[in-house]
Symmetry: C4
Subunit: 208 residues, 4 copies
């Protein structure tokens, strides 16, 4: 094996970004397929209103995947290329992202069924998001350890803060948020949506 | 915060365009999944003919998303890059676009059921389109206010006319069009399709 | 209006190609969703064998879309850019291509039901393919008339032969092929598949 | 016909890579649609746990497609362009890849039904993977024989070893792995997943 920091063949990350953009774009667009279309017998207006958990879960997953994509984009503005191994680390990250439509649908469909149904559904949802957060850290740490990120970027306070503080706590926050469904499932979605919106604001270096 | 016009880090919009193209392409292609396949028992020819509202809604949504994509493409020929925040503004725009297969299916499936079913379905459809129009203006105004568009382009009569007149009235026209389903749902689709076709013709500067 | 040959603003066709590639790629991949998964009660081996029309239709549509994509790719190696209007002409072409999973599924699902069911299904399928062929000619003729293709390429014997002979006859061949399902639906698929494979071989100039 | 090594018109492979990336990205993301969402009546936690074969098949197919994509990416770092014919060879390769969600779903849905159901399902799955492996060799051999790969790359020991040994044995290993479902279907997935992970490690030249 090569020693860390001694990167093996580094090629352009253009195609990795195209593939990742594809998976992000498809996962975010497939979310709509899980919203149930009112059946011929049903009252359309009422059926749509009663589906508000589906819409809320849709927005939560959409904003989450959108934020993940924007952050992936942002990380790759400092990444200077990819190795063969780094491709797989990204495939790992894309797995829970592509999986997100499933827990989104499970939560939406069992929303009104009582805690013993909602809590496991929400744990599946929050667990998937926690996994995404973990693999995001892995992507960054792998890139940093293999010399795919310039040393300045690694040192940069802004990046460090995000990399160390938020990314480490995020999985825990997601699981706690999922657990909050014991009180009310809406609390979980507020935590998930809030975290996505929080991440939409980039950390700025404040050197003072 | 940085003052408006003092753009923060501006990076290439290449990947934003790839991601947006992906969402547009997927949403436009997913539309077909909502057209029901005649069941083994049914008469194929009759079932297909009876599904004409599905096909009309398909064409309307297809042409609308196609026009939206072409206009997004057109706006980005003058946009000189993206900030981190601008990525999110675009994610917001993509949300109702990716959502469009849902109201398209709702309208198609309840077409023959009477006004109390068709009108709310059409309001959902027109409302989604109104939202797309609103977010399109937001994308443009955000880009203009953050200096992502050259001042000449902002001043340009052609762009101004489109930006101010059509985009401001569009949400209203979509809602009025949806309301026209009180008379006949076909009127709504004519308004929606007409608006998409109208937008397909670029505004040319006529200085005289 | 501008006079033909006096092209309006010509911009890079890069994003048009990305969008078109996306629609081609999604339509070709969505085909698999229409193949029915044997239900828990059914004998798996027998259910799969009995689904051979689904697989044959899958291969036919897959090869057709693949060939369409390759020819689109090939046309764009000589196209030097796009106007705003040319974007819409391409959206028109993409509409029947994105629609193809629907007739593919209709044909597969009603294959064993007798002529009065199979023939209209096959006409829908062949009609969609005829439409694709027509719009392909429109794309080429529009590009040629607006000066988006260098004059040499338009004059080129190879391109001319393909443009005039095959593309003009293709819609007719597709409809005749669909009509052949009166004898046996397998004949239709042989015609469709044969045409796709024929198109896979580029016309070479033979000046002698 | 042109003689081998005398390549016909070679154009940039950029668009071929975009299209292939699209198909890989869509196929990998569609896998999630085949995982069944627990119905309102069912116990959510139990239904999810009982679906472990679905999740295992999901991971196996996801890692397999991810590895295929990474290897496609890797091959194209040495490929210097594409001919018209090479586009079709790639379309052939993409066909079983885009098909993979189907056997994945068949295996997952019939996992608990006894050998006479599981073995044919697994043969379909392994057979699809064997076909992918065969077409991967075809892509490489076609590129090499048409001069699309520099002679050094063809000669390179690393590439040769992979090209000759693994790719030739792979179809056999996949079929043997599928046959192992006679003992236990989990053995098949271990073989498939193991092969995907094995391929994730690039062959390094060891000249000694």
């Amino acid at each position: 094996m090569e020693s860390p920091g001694q990167p093996e063949d580094v090629v352009s990350s253009a195609r990795l970004e195209t593939f990742a953009d594809g998976v992000f774009a498809i996962a975010i667009t497939l979310l709509v397929l899980e919203i149930r279309i009112p059946e011929p017998g049903q009252n359309v207006a009422r059926a749509i209103v009663d589906q508000w958990p589906s819409f809320l879960a849709y927005v939560t997953s959409f904003v989450t995947i959108g934020t993940m994509w924007a952050n992936h984009h942002r990380i790759f503005t400092v990444i200077r290329g990819t190795t063969y191994g780094f491709l797989f680390v990204n495939v790992l990250l894309l797995m829970p992202i592509a999986f997100l439509p499933y827990p989104t649908a499970v939560v939406a469909r069992h929303w009104f069924e009582g805690k013993d149904q909602v809590v496991p559904a929400m744990l599946l949802y929050g667990g998937t998001m926690a996994l995404i957060a973990v693999f995001f850290s892995v992507v960054w740490l792998y890139a940093a350890s293999r010399g795919l990120v310039p040393a300045e970027a690694v040192r940069s306070r802004a990046v460090r803060r995000r990399g160390e503080l938020i990314y480490r706590l995020a999985p825990l926050i997601y699981l706690l948020g999922a657990g909050a469904s014991v009180i009310d499932p809406i609390l979980s979605l507020i935590v998930f949506l809030g975290l996505a919106i929080y991440w939409a604001f980039p950390v700025r270096p404040r050197e003072a």
